[in-house]
């Protein structure tokens, strides 16, 4: 995955491009580059962070240009493989996000016709194709080129002979055009634009646009004109600033009480979810499909929906669902994606539709690609998340799943009105429960100091806390680089016990629910193998304190809702461990925020 930006207007392009690029750094950051056109085409690229590029930039004039931040899919990170790429004549420059699947065969043809390649990337193929197709009209050349490409792409192209325009194209990779006063912008994602404008046009699949200083024209790959309404974004640019925090991740962890409240406002007490009545339809089962942290939210959702609706729920990784057999039954398909752009989840949504299922997306981004692929959308209202490790979007996804389960349970009669009321009261209390975890983070910090020395950590839980354990382990490994594994507590004795030593801490989640006694026995088994136990339980649980080496408490909360304060505890734990270990918390190595490649 990569990020691209473009600018055309009256101002110096370079500072705007670099600033916009920085706001896309979460999409990848192993190399970056920029092209601006004045009387000549000026290029600069650098391996490493955007600040590396910034150090190398001379003062190049020019009021239009394109830029790119890269996350390597083809070719290792290096100056040479960084975008933008230019053609043989050095007059065309191009940036690309996506993967060109047929680039090898195209490249062979281009090389046989004498094109010289400087890199190993799929993108360079595209710029040479544009060169071949160029007959004095850049838009026509781009349209002709994209018709021959297979895969996914968002492109921005400039030509020295046409310094009044940027031509952009999209198929399967996100691209947004921002509209200013006598200037226009383009970017992979909103954060790059919000400092400059709120008025945007979302380019859709198989569309080409010509962006001039004073206007934008859209058409399809096939050349038919396209009309598109201008959308107004209600996120503000500060939503993407760190606001005094050392890391976006910590800022976002602290934003959770508010994010949860936002997800509840206007939806309780009546459970008006505005999802086109899908909660009132009859299904014989539910399938939740997602990737990464969203997949873990889906796994919590399984326990929640089964408990509240009585329906069987299957959770599948989106990358697996796509290639699974069509079993000819038609569950309600719930697709969970923070960005709404995860390629695997998008493809799963299409596959679900092909199989004739009703589809519901849970996403954080209004107008994102997935919202056009599904029947209904339930938005989480977490606001933009910049830290690569998902935090507030995970808890907001849980809230969405609770609301969905409650609405379906209400309709199906599997939840008594009194039970529903209790759950609503419990939801209402969650923002405060999470705040209370944040307010009492001293004990978590101490635990982190102790855990930071570990090489391996195991997280165990049962029922809703099995996925909470998975997510806690994911948080720890992705930002602190400590090997961590989440397990159903009952599975320890079927193998992993063999790995327990006095040097492998075990985090055990033991909330007073129907699995509590079993959890206590599991904790006993772990202690018997001299592995230190960090237990997470409800406040005033003295029994748990006796059974464990360190105990972290969350406020008294209904078991089904307890993953929310528990995961907040585990997020803070992972954060402090990573901080002690001196890790790059917001930009862990080898990871990108939303994965738009399959």
């Amino acid at each position: 995955m990569c990020g691209i930006v473009g600018y055309i207007g009256n101002r110096q392009a370079l500072p705007i491009l670099v600033e916009s690029l920085k706001r896309l750094e979460y999409r990848g950051y192993d190399s970056a580059g920029v092209s601006v056109i004045d009387r000549e085409l000026f290029n600069s690229k650098a391996a490493g962070r955007i600040t590396e590029l910034e150090k190398r930039l001379p003062d190049a004039p020019g009021r239009m240009g394109i830029a790119h931040t890269r996350w390597a899919t083809h070719g290792r990170p290096s100056d040479r493989n960084a975008h933008p790429f230019t053609d043989c004549s050095g007059r065309i420059s191009l940036v690309h996000n996506g993967i060109i699947e047929n680039h090898r065969e195209l490249r062979a043809g281009l090389e046989s016709r004498g094109h010289r390649f400087t890199s190993e990337t799929d993108t360079e193929t595209v710029v040479h194709l544009v060169e071949e197709n160029y007959k004095g009209d850049l838009r026509a050349a781009v349209s002709e080129t994209v018709r021959h490409l297979r895969g996914s792409l968002a492109l921005a192209v400039v030509h020295l002979s046409e310094p009044d325009r940027i031509v952009v194209a999209r198929d399967e990779s996100p691209l947004v055009i921002g509209l200013g006063q006598d200037e226009n912008f383009v970017a992979s994602d909103l954060p790059a634009l919000l400092k400059y404008t709120r008025r945007v046009i979302y380019l859709q699949n198989r569309e080409v646009a010509v962006i001039r200083r004073d206007g934008v024209g859209l058409e399809s790959f096939e050349g038919e004109p396209v009309e598109r309404d201008i959308a107004t974004v209600d996120w503000s640019p500060e939503d993407t600033e760190k606001g005094g925090y050392q890391h976006f991740m910590l800022k976002e962890i602290y934003e959770q009480p508010r994010a949860i409240l936002e997800s509840l406002i206007g939806r309780i007490p009546g459970l008006e979810l505005d999802i086109g009545g899908i909660d009132k339809e009859d299904f014989d089962s539910v399938k939740i499909v997602a990737c990464g942290t969203s997949f873990h939210a889906g796994l919590v959702g399984k326990y929640v929906l089964e408990q509240l609706t009585g329906l069987p729920v299957i959770v599948e990784a989106a990358s697996e669902y796509r290639y699974s057999a069509n079993t000819r039954y038609s569950p309600l398909m719930v697709l969970v994606s923070q960005s709404g752009e995860s390629a695997d989840t998008l493809q799963a949504a299409r596959e679900a539709r092909r199989r004739g299922s009703r589809t519901l997306a849970i996403t954080n981004v209004v107008g994102s690609s997935i919202t056009r692929e599904v029947d209904s959308v339930l938005y989480t209202r977490a606001g933009p998340e910049i830290g690569v490790a998902a935090t507030k979007t995970f808890t907001s996804q849980l809230i969405a799943l609770y609301l969905l389960g409650m609405a379906m349970g209400k309709h199906r009669g599997t939840l008594l009105p009194s039970q529903l009321q209790e759950l609503i009261d419990g939801l209402r209390k969650l923002p405060r429960d999470v705040q209370s975890v944040l307010d009492n983070r001293g004990a978590i910090k101490l635990t982190a100091e102790w855990m930071a020395q570990a090489r391996d950590v195991f997280f165990i839980g049962r029922n809703v806390h099995y996925p909470t354990a998975l997510e806690g382990a994911l948080k720890l490994k992705e930002i602190s680089y400590i090997h961590a594994e989440g397990l159903p507590a009952g599975e320890l004795k079927h193998g992993p016990n063999a790995l327990l030593t006095a040097e492998t801490p075990v985090v055990a989640i033991a909330i007073r629910d129907h699995t509590y006694d079993k959890m206590l026995s599991n904790i006993g088994e772990v202690s018997a193998r001299s592995a230190p136990v960090i237990a997470i339980g409800l406040e005033n649980d003295r029994e748990l304190k006796k059974a464990s080496d360190l105990t972290l408490y969350v406020p008294e909360v209904r078991p089904v809702l307890s993953p929310v304060p528990v995961i907040t505890t585990l997020q803070l734990l992972a954060y402090h461990v990573a901080l002690i270990r001196g890790c790059e918390i917001d930009k862990p190595r080898n990871l990108a925020k939303s994965v738009t490649v399959e």
């Binding site: 600033e241 602290y254 923002p431 405060r432």
Partner: protein, 397 residues
Amino acid sequence: MKAVILAAGEGIRLRPLTLYKPKVMIKVANRPILEYVVRALAQNHVRDIIMIVGYRRERIMTYFEDGQKLGVNISYEVQDKQLGTAHALSLAEGKTGERFLVLPGDNIADPSMVKDILASDEPYSIAVTESQLPSKYGVVLLKGRQVTGVVEKPESNLGNLISTGLFHMSSRVFSHIRSCASAGHHDITAVFQSILASGERIAAVKTAARWSDVVYPWDLLDLNARVLTEGAGAVAGTIESGVHIRGNVQVGEGSVIRSGTYIEGPVRIGRGCDIGPNVCLLPSVSIGDNVNIQSSTEIRNSLVMNDVTIGPGALVSHSVIGDGSRLGAHFVAGAEKAQVILEREIHVVPALGVILGEDTVVGNCVTVEPGVFIGSSCRIGSLRNIPKNVPDNSSVV
């Protein structure tokens, strides 16, 4: 022009409301005190703000972020130990520009006061106001408009003009701060003495504008009542039929006001609340976000903070209920003239109910005697009469 807001302090005298948040983040009429300060600056086109934060600073940073929502740019400096106001101010050295404002984050500054002091072109200016309790403040001694001295909390009568903590300063102040600090003085009074001793002039700007300091928790009630008289009514959310709304009333988005509820303004209700049926809200009540007030409860002249639940049939009068507390059915905190002992002093408050902290859970049928303080994170069982203060984190069963 830049401004430095001092917001690092804890606000011990406002316990239990400041156990989990700094004083500047206590809400009055549903806005943190600090937000009034920021808005007063923004109204005067002072948009670059340096906030000195310390105690529980995440609360401030999460709320204000980088300031764009209020149309300002906020950057943060962290004061780890609250050594004194001069020390806090020193953290802004090198970031203020030649002339800048200094404001306390815990008083509600009137925009006209900011305007008055901005107009002063002396190298140093102090906004002064008359006080009936000068012994609590720094008293400013004057000769004409010129300040001749500042005496912190004087024991004898030196006049009633006090410093509001709002200053217009030159960046030369930082060298005075350094020399005072090396002599072991971290308070701003010592810095003013040092400035005067060096022969520089300090002007006093007398302001007739409203200046509201919150010294004790009950001061919040008067301040809330006064702020509530400003601003127009605006009703969002769902208002069921049979609700009576009179006077200046604001209801936030996503809130539900159930049938039979009677609201007499000024009353402000936040977002996502569930109120009623048959609740009675009388003048000067602020209700935060995500608050649930159940049937047949009456509330008057009180602050009910975010995430609070108040059960059916309760009476809450002249009281402050902190964030996230949950009160059972038939909770009674009626107001009477009360004697409160704080910092070994007896304060007579004409009418006071309860000051109740954050995250405290109270059972059913609990009665609190007027003027009692109940701490944060307490657990109080049902059928109790609470005659005296309950410290933080304790349980009454």
